[in-house]
Amino acid sequence: MKKQSLVLVVIAAIVVIAGIFFITNQNIQKDVSDDQKKIGFIYIGPPGDHGWTYMHDVGRQYLEKELGDSVSTTYIENVPENADAVRSIRKLAESGHDLIFTTSFNYMDQTLEVASEFPDVKFEHATGFKRADNVSTYSARFYEGRTVIGHIAGKMTETNTIGYIVSFPIPEVIRGINAFYLAASKVNPDVKIKIIWVYSWYDPGKEADAANTLINQGADIIVQHTDSYAPCQAAEKAGVLAFGQASNQEAFCPNAHMTAIEDIWGPYYAAKAQAVVDGTWSSEDTWQGFKDGMVEMSPYNEKLLSSDLIAEAKAIEEGIENGTIHSFEGPIYNQAGELVVKEGEVADDGMLASMMFYVQGIDGEVPQ
C-alpha cells in the first residue's frame, strides 16, 4: 500500500512539473513570422508589484502598441540576480530574440556574459555601466524628480521634520537624498531629514515600521526609496503626507499622496526596438530625465497642495527640462564643509554617478 501511494505521488509530481515546463515553454517560444523582430525582457520582480517592474512592463506594452506587427515581445519575470539570470537571458537569446532588455542593476555581468556568446543579438541593460559592442546601458535621472518633491516637502512641512526611508547605500539612492535635501533646504532652511535604512528594496512590513517610527519621531512628510506602497499607506493611516515611488500610488493613499516620481520607459523601448527593426541600433549609454520624458511627475494632488505650490513645482519641472535649473547647482558643500561644486557650476555626470557622500546639513553618516 505504502509503496503504491508513494509511486502515485511521484507520478503526480512528474506530471505537474512536466505540465509547468510545457506551459512556460509555450509562453516563451511563441511562433512568429520571420520578418517580425522579437524583443525580450528580463524582470527582477512580478509585473504586478506596482513599482519598478510594473513600470518596465508598462513600457513593454507601450512598445508593442507603438510598433504593432513589426515586433513581438516576451518577458520572464522574477529572475533572481544570480547565475539563474544567465540561464534566462540565454533562453531568450537562443529562442531567436533580436533585442533583450535586462531591467535590474545586478544583471550586469550576466548580460555581458550572454552577449559575448550571441554577437548578433542586441542587449540593453538598465542602470548599469558596463557596455560592449552589442550591449547598451540606459537609466533615468530620477534625482530630478527628487528636486521637485524636495521643494514641495520643504514648503509643506509644519514640523520641519521629514522622514526618508531608504534601501541600500548606493550612489542612486544617495544622489536622491542629496537632491531632495538641497531643494527642501533651499525653500526652508530649518528643515531636517531623518533617514532610516531598511536594507531591503522590498519588505512591506519593515517599510511600514520605518514610516511609523519616523512619524512617531515627529516627521509629517514621508519620502521613500523602497519599492512597496506600505510607507504611503502608513502615512495615510497616521494622517501625514507622503510621496509615491516609481509609479502613481494615489489609489492606495489618496489623502497622503502628494505626487510621485514615475519611471517612463515606453518611448525609449519603442525607439530602441525601432532602431533594431531599421537596422540602425548601436551601443550607447543613455541617461535621461524630464527633458526626454523618461522621468515624469504623477498628477499633483489638488486636495493637498495649493495651486501656487503646484505652479512652482511645474516651473521647476520646466526649468530642469530647459536647463535653467539643475538639481545640483553650486555652491555645494559636503558634510566636512569642503566645497565640492563651485558657485556657478553644476555637478557633472561623473560626480553624480559615483556620489557616495551627504551634502552639508544632512545629519548622520553614509553607511559603509
Binding site: K2, S5, L6, V9, G45, P46, G48, D49, H50, Y54, N78, G163, K194, I195, I196, W197, V198, Y199, S200, Y202, D203, P204, G205, K206, E207, A208, D209, A210, N212, T213, L214, N216, Q217, S228, Y229, A230, Q233, K237, A251, F252, D363, G364, E365, P367
Partner: protein, 289 residues
Amino acid sequence: MSIELIIGILNIVLISTTPLVFAGIGELVTEKSGVLNLGLEGLMLVGAVTGFITLVLTGNYFYSLFLSIISGVILSGIFAFLVLNLMTNQIATGLALTIFGIGLSAMLGKKFAGTPIDGLNPYYFIVISFLLVFSVGYFLSKTKSGLIVRAVGENHNSAYALGYNVIKTRYLTIIFGGVMSSLAGYYISICYAPMWQEGMTAGRGWIALALVVFATWKPWRLLVGAYIFGGVAIMQMNLQAIGVKLPGQFFNMMPYIATLIVLVFISSNKVRLKLSAPSCLNIPYEKNS
C-alpha cells in the same frame, strides 16, 4: 524622551512583533509533538493571499479570516499526510512546502496585487496573541492533552505503548501550527501592511523558526524572545532616525545570531538540552516498530 514617544515606540513594536508570536507559538506546539515543520513561510504566504483575495471579493472580514484558516488546515494537512503516513523526510517536505507556498501564493494573488483594501485594526490580534501564548503554556504544562503532546514528542514508542495515538496527536499539532502560520500571514496582509504583494512576508517564517529554538521550546520565553527580536529592530530604526550611526546589516542578522548563541549555549549542556528539546524531534515514527 517624552512619554508619547515611548508609547509610540511600544505601539510599533507590538504591531510588528505579533506575526512572529503567532507563527512561533504554532511551530512550538508542532515541534513539541516531535515534528519539525520548515514550511512556515509558505503557509504564511498562502494564508495571507487567501485572506486578501477573499476580502477583496466578499468585503467580509469574517469570511476572509475563515478561508485563510482553512488554507492553513489544508496545506498543513497535506504536510502531515506526507510526513506521518508516507514518512517522508520532514526537513525536505517542509522546504518543499515553503517553495510550494511561495509559488502558489504568487499565482493566486497575481490578479489581486495592488488592489487597495481597508485594513483591520491590529489590536484584536495583538490581544489574541498574548492570550494564545498563555493558553498554550497552560495547555502544555497543566492539561492531560498537553502532556500527551509532550509524551509523543519525547518518545513516540513509549507513548504508543501507553495507548496514545501518535499519528492522530501529530496530525492535530501540525494542523494547529499550520493554522497559526496562516493567522500570522492573514495579520500581515490585512492588518500590518494591508496589501498583497508576492513574497510580502519577507522571511518572517524563518525568524519564527529561529525563535522556537531561541525560546528553547518554552512558550513564555517565545513571547519574550519575539519581543526582543521585534524590539531591537524597532529600536535600531529609532536610533537611526535620531542620527546615531549603526551597522544596519548587523541588526538584520541579530535574530539568527542570537539563536546561534542560544544553540551553542544549550548544546554545551546536555541536561539543559534534554530538558527542553523534544527528543523525537524530526524522527519519523513507524507504527508497530
